[in-house]
Amino acid sequence: MLIAVLWTVMGRSLLKATIGLALTSAVVTILMFRLNSPLAAVFELSVCTGLITVVFVSTISLTKPLTNKEIVELSKERNKRFGYLPILLIVISIALTFIRIRNNIIIPPVTTPELDVRRVMWDMRQLDMLGQIIVVIIGALGVVILFEERRRDEW
């Protein structure tokens, strides 16, 4: 999974970074399947790997690419900046192995029987559902406001 993440961060062009993000989503989905959460995994796969990639690619394609000169000087600087990342990761990994967390976390046992996810979402957490509807409305309003093309004034 780390390979996917590193690809995302250090990808040369924006498109490669976006594909790296989609790859990371796919890996996260597989991990979620292993952790007994199939519904969330499917959601993550369809939404993140699909929708967000589409959003990013459309945003990137609406903006102008850099000229060649800028690309060259940008890549020299980029290697210097992003080269620190693997070193940082290795340092942090070593530091983390020294931390000892005591295993005295008491997790309350599951008393009520486990319900299916759909039942949980509809019965227990209806306020969250309402919140999601409101968030989608904000998204729609935001798209209308932000993506509006000015007709004559800007040109």
Partner: protein, 106 residues
């Protein structure tokens, strides 16, 4: 918490922390606005993985799945709004440089 759950927790937690660091680094260091948003998305993925991990370890998978679905919905809307703002900024500045956003000072 029982032994092998703890092992799984530690292993996954290790990777989640590393993803956090990558995402934060990407967000703070990059010069391009869209790369910063990609870093943000990486961070959110790390948090969703943490949530699922907590659900597995504590045995309550359904509630955490419901929470994760909600988080994903909100994340998509945040990404769309952020992309919209980046687009507007591009229209004004003609480049996607984050260093150019220094007009407001003081």
């Amino acid at each position: 918490m029982s032994g092998d759950y703890w092992q799984i927790f530690l292993t996954f937690g290790f990777f989640i922390i590393l993803t956090f660091v990558c995402g934060l680094y990407c967000m703070l260091v990059s010069r391009n606005i869209i790369r910063a948003i990609i870093g943000l998305e990486l961070l959110i993925k790390a948090v969703t993985l943490l949530m699922i991990l907590v659900g597995y370890v504590s045995g309550r998978t359904s509630v955490t799945q419901a929470m994760v679905i909600t988080i994903i919905v909100i994340e998509v809307v945040v990404a769309v709004v952020a992309g919209g703002i980046a687009l507007r900024s591009f229209r004004y500045n003609d480049n996607l440089d984050i260093r150019g956003l220094k007009r407001l000072k003081g």
